[in-house]
């Protein structure tokens, strides 16, 4: 429901009444075919919000070319006709489907739902108010969002990086970090926006791709690349891409001359004053909660943090202060895309927990007419050639192509459409299929990647098997790439149609199979992530088997005392363990290990060993939450040698126990990044900066006369944790920056130790005489991960952490369907993020477990029994391990061999078909016969 706003929420969890205001679109979505003629004719230009103010759109517009829904809308503030009745109205006059409706009114809706998820996102900080950066005054100072639009091929400059002032190419650009974040002076956003360091590096790398020899510099205070693979990207940006990083907060931007050049005046890390000139300065703007979201939150009783983000508990990170209302994404605190996606799934899990009894109560199945049997019939092919507005017709002579199609063998009906994808053409296609008895369809239009599902559904609704369809891509493969030669393009279009006709003529109806699902889950690992996901699934009504190697549950969390929000972990942990052990749906196996695994989504069989006894567990999905372990820095910084040196976890324990070394300690030194962010472990362990800062605060609060030092490379107290960093500084904790080439040196002293470090402000070595030295050590993956990875055939990355299917969009899925990951096993993270990821894994798993069966695509490999002799060449090439060899002896005692395809694991890639020397296996819908016919058609003149 677009153009809608929530105005009120009443009720309680399980039963809410939501009032929604729908703003008028002034365009009928059932009629609009997004042809764009209205926008062409509209005379009113307006600043384009989508392009972040770098371009203009019309008063009637579509947000962007790939918008969903792809329907136009009229901006009532700027439309001439809506403000002055009787004037203009050109769009209405020219719209080919009569979709314009100036009488559209605001509608109010009231809906009744069981739960609500708030995911209203963020607004970029607007740097105009703080004039010091010259934004809004000097045209070559832009925000990062504007840079994204400039770099984008669909943006105002089609990806050419030029100066906004004069269009000249950009040769030197600078990024200023923390604009609108970590700043109580120019704005009131004291928190860290978490994403800007990373996006600035990404934009710099992309900009360098666009412009040869581009000089890019990033000015930062702390480089916060704490996510998975981010540290490596940062290193590559420095070494491979040559991006310059300068640790300095530049105070402002000045114009240099009157041509639009910009001047930055700053002090570099050596204390020298430097002046540099740039073509373009990009302000890395922070994320903030939009004003109307703050108002809505106040109205419906959602508590916000002092920074105006949704207040949540670390132990229920997606639940707001109002029961039954969940949240996810940037509203719950500034975060990047993988975190937002994880939280989206976690919120879904939260809702599913709550509404489990009501599952499937309001969903509807789509119904289709019975399929017409076309076996034995001669092909009666219908060809629909699309003009695609002028996208195809502007280059290709569509009429000639249609005439040609009519001459092809098997074709009994040809039709030309302006927009084959429009709703009315779907109705037309259905009519034609029925009246003409068409039994094969060719749609000569655009790409099947976006439109095949639409046409499949159309012919299915007309009673035809949905696979009796072939598309010829006259747009992406023809008009878009051969726009300079219409004659040849038209010939190619004819070739493409001829090939499609040849292939579809030999197409048989295909039946999609489905596999049944065992509605049971298996969770490997009984730490917080494992327990939370097990509980979430159990709360949703599924049976769960939880496997834990040790004698007790809790994993690494047993070493922790509190979250960054100072919430009590041991108490939470005890409560969690109790819930797990008492839950009737959770089968707990302590002191057990996984020793074998096989199967595929919906049908896994895992063998575990407990006390020498083996047990086979059948399950539909698996969640791997095997956790991590702390790095022991033997031999580094005196660890293991001097008794005053501890790891962070050891220090916590020792302090809690009241050890006199800590109690009477006067000076404490923390060294960050021990073991992390270096060659053998090129990743950031994410939690250590926050942990050390909290430990330092506690030490200072106990006794303010203590001297506490934190030696860091970059302080990574990201998001709202930034407040802790400030508090530590206010309490007098001294932060000293060190670089990899000048690591602190630790020696034994008469009393305690000396730590020598080069002070980055004083520019001289500092020797600190300390009573205690705490090393913030790296988090490593559990060594068992590699073994488990082999058993389940899942990938592990170069650092030993499990590799997810897609870093951004599928952060809890493995590329093997039905397997998910959560917690430290995926990457170091704090407790609240482990819980969110665990819930996300549970939600993803539930979306499979809640079904009785999974329908599979029909385009899977098929064995031709008469031709396959079991040579097994295809088995080796299959990337999905979907082929197995079957052997047996027939009734006459003759041995036989052949292969069998696991349809659930097969993805229809066709490698087997390409490898088989006997035509013994083929991908349904792409038989060798069909492909040969297509090739012959292509070569025919």
């Amino acid at each position: 429901m677009t153009l809608c706003e929530v105005t009120d929420v009443t009720g309680t969890e399980g039963n809410f009444t939501v009032k929604i205001k729908e703003h008028p679109r002034y365009v009928d979505v059932d009629k609009c075919i997004a042809c764009g003629i209205c926008a062409e004719k509209c005379p009113k230009k307006v600043e384009d919000e989508y392009n972040a103010g770098t371009a203009k759109r019309k008063a009637i517009y579509v947000k962007y070319a790939q918008a969903v829904p792809l329907k136009y809308q009229i901006d009532p503030e700027h439309c001439i006709r809506l403000n002055k009745p009787g004037k203009c109205g050109f769009c209405e006059k020219f719209c080919p489907s009569g979709a314009i409706n100036f009488d559209d009114k605001e509608k109010l809706h009231t809906i009744n739902v069981g739960s609500i998820i708030l995911a209203p996102g963020f607004d970029c900080f607007d740097p105009k108010e703080a004039g010091i950066w010259g934004y809004g005054r000097y045209p070559n100072v832009i925000t990062s969002m504007q840079l994204e639009r400039y770099l984008s091929a669909s943006g105002p400059t089609e990806g050419h990086l030029v100066r906004p002032s004069d269009g000249k190419p950009v040769r030197k650009m600078a990024f200023l970090q923390c604009v609108g974040s970590r700043d109580q002076n120019r704005c009131s956003n004291e928190y860290c926006s978490s994403v800007c360091c990373m996006y600035a590096i990404k934009e710099a790398v992309i900009a360098k791709d666009h412009v040869d020899g581009l000089d890019a510099t990033i000015f930062f205070m702390d480089m916060r690349t704490f996510g998975k693979d981010f540290e490596r990207y940062y290193e590559n940006a420095k070494t491979r891409h040559g991006i310059r990083f300068v640790r300095c907060r530049v105070h402002g931007v000045e114009p240099h001359g009157s041509d639009g050049d910009l001047r930055l005046h700053y002090i570099n890390e050596e204390g020298r004053q430097i002046e540099e000139y740039y073509d373009l300065v990009v302000l890395s703007v922070g994320l903030e909660t939009p004003q109307q979201v703050k108002e809505l939150a106040a109205k419906i009783g959602i508590q916000l943090t002092p920074h105006n983000f949704a207040a949540t508990s670390a132990f229920s990170p997606v639940l707001t202060s109002r029961p039954g209302i969940f949240t996810c994404g940037a509203f719950a605190g500034p975060k990047d895309i993988p975190q937002s996606v994880m939280e989206g799934s976690a919120a879904a899990a939260g809702v599913a927990d709550l509404l489990a009894p009501a599952r499937y109560s309001l969903t509807q199945e789509k119904s289709f007419p019975p399929e017409r049997d076309v076996s034995g019939q001669e092909p009666r092919i219908g060809v629909f050639v699309c003009h695609c507005g002028s996208n195809i017709a502007g280059v290709v002579d569509v009429e000639a192509v249609a005439d040609y199609a009519a001459s092809l063998p098997g074709v009994v009906h040809v039709e030309r459409n302006l927009f084959t994808c429009s709703q009315d053409t779907q109705d037309l296609m259905k009519k034609r299929i029925e009246e003409q008895g068409l039994n094969r369809i060719v749609v000569a239009a655009c790409t099947p990647r976006t439109h095949e599902p639409l046409f499949r559904e159309t012919i299915k609704a007309a009673g035809l098997n949905e696979y009796l369809l072939e598309m010829a891509n006259l747009r992406n493969h023809d008009s878009w790439v051969h726009s300079n030669d219409p004659t040849k393009a038209t010939e190619k279009a004819k070739d493409l149609v001829r090939m499609a006709v040849a292939k579809v003529a030999l197409q048989s109806p295909l039946k999609a199979e489905s596999v049944g699902i065992v509605p049971v889950a298996l969770v490997v690992g009984g730490g917080i992530a494992g327990m939370e996901s097990a509980l979430s699934l159990a709360d949703q009504g599924f049976e769960v088997h939880l496997i834990e190697k040790r004698k007790y549950l809790g994993g690494n969390a047993r070493h922790l005392n509190h979250t960054w929000t100072y919430e009590d972990i041991p108490r939470y942990l005890d409560g969690l363990v109790k819930k797990v052990t008492e839950n009737p749906l959770i089968h707990l196996y302590l002191e057990s290990e996984v020793i074998d695994a096989k199967g595929f989504v919906g049908n896994f069989v895992t063998t575990i060993q407990q006390g020498g006894k083996k047990k086979e567990i059948k399950h539909g999905i698996g969640i791997i939450a095997t956790g991590g372990k702390g790095y022991r820095p033997e031999g580094e910084y005196g660890y293991g040698e001097y008794e005053e040196v501890f790891t962070a976890i050891e220090f916590d324990a020792v302090k809690k126990a009241g050890d006199f070394r800590v109690k009477r300690g006067r000076t404490f030194v923390f060294i960050q990044c021990v073991g992390s962010r270096q060659e053998d472990r090129l990743y950031c362990s994410r939690v250590c900066c926050t942990h050390s800062v909290q430990a330092a605060i506690e030490l200072k609060k106990e006794d303010p006369s203590r001297s506490v030092y934190i030696l860091y490379r970059d302080m990574r107290t990201y998001g709202q944790r930034e407040a802790l960093f400030k508090e530590a500084r206010m309490l007098g904790v001294i932060f000293i920056n060190y670089e990899l080439h000048g690591r602190p040196k630790v020696k034994k002293a008469k009393q305690g130790l000396t730590v020598e470090v080069w002070d980055h402000v004083l520019h001289r070595p500092l020797i600190i005489n300390t009573d205690v030295l705490v090393l913030a050590t790296a988090i490593e993956p559990n060594p068992v991960s590699k073994e488990l990875a082999k058993l389940y055939k899942v990938p592990v990355d170069s650092d030993g952490f499990f590799q997810e299917a897609h870093a951004k969009l599928r952060p809890v899925d493995f590329s093997v369907d039905g397997l998910y990951m959560a917690g430290l096993a995926h990457y170091p993270k704090p407790v609240e993020e482990a819980i969110a990821q665990a819930k996300a894994a549970a939600a993803r798993a539930a979306s499979i477990l809640s079904r009785k069966e999974i329908p599979l695509e029909a385009t899977k490999a098929q064995v031709v029994l008469e031709k396959c002799d079991g040579c097994g060449l295809c088995i080796d090439v299959c990337p999905y391990q979907a082929i197995t060899l079957l052997e047996g002896v027939d009734d006459q005692g003759h041995p036989w061999k052949r292969v069998e395809i696991n349809k659930a694991q097969c993805k229809g890639c066709g490698l087997c078909q390409g490898t088989c020397p006997k035509d013994g296996v083929y991908v349904a819908g792409f038989s060798s016969q069909q492909l040969r016919a297509q090739i012959e058609a292509a070569l025919a003149v």
């Binding site: 004039g131 010091i132 010259g134 402002g252 000045e254 114009p255 001359g257 005046h265």
Partner: protein, 158 residues
């Protein structure tokens, strides 16, 4: 005592006189390009300490007397210090003081102004007596009240 007497700055006074029409300004006298220097104390410091920085008042008056006005970049709260504050004008560290003032000198040069209005006596001295010579700026420097005084249309004696 504070309640008996009205205490305010010369900015407020001049602006009051101007707005109430108690003074008349001849705009033909100062036709050269003029710029305005924001003193630290009246500007940034006043903003931080009292919540009000005198940025606009001086500009309104200056523009009223010298219509050919151009702002320095950056200006107002972000404007650069003249370099002679905190006692630097009176102290013997001349080389340092002149070095600090180089950025102010460049700012003035970049405006192309011939007349600089410096409302603070310290800034005015630095700019008029030091920066103008050391950096050969070739400018005239006036106090804000001086600009107004020089622009006054005197009432006709009866």
């Amino acid at each position: 005592m504070l309640e008996r007497y009205k205490i305010y700055s010369v900015f407020d006074l001049l602006l009051e006189y101007y707005n109430e029409g108690r003074i008349n300004i001849n705009r033909e006298i100062h036709k050269q390009r003029t710029t305005y220097h924001d003193p630290c104390n009246y500007g940034r410091k006043s903003l931080k300490t009292f919540g009000h920085g005198y940025f606009e008042e001086g500009r309104i008056i200056t523009k009223a007397c010298a219509p050919n006005f151009v702002d320095m970049e950056p200006n107002r709260e972000g404007n650069y210090c003249c370099g002679a504050g905190g006692g630097a004008w009176a102290m013997p560290f001349k080389t340092e003081r002149v070095f600090y003032g180089r950025i102010k000198a460049r700012q003035i040069q970049e405006t192309g102004a011939e007349l600089v209005i410096a409302p603070c006596h310290n800034c005015r001295d630095q700019i008029k007596k030091s920066l103008n010579q050391e950096y050969q700026l070739g400018i005239e420097v006036k106090y804000l009240w001086e600009l107004v005084a020089d622009s006054l249309v005197l009432p006709v004696k009866n």
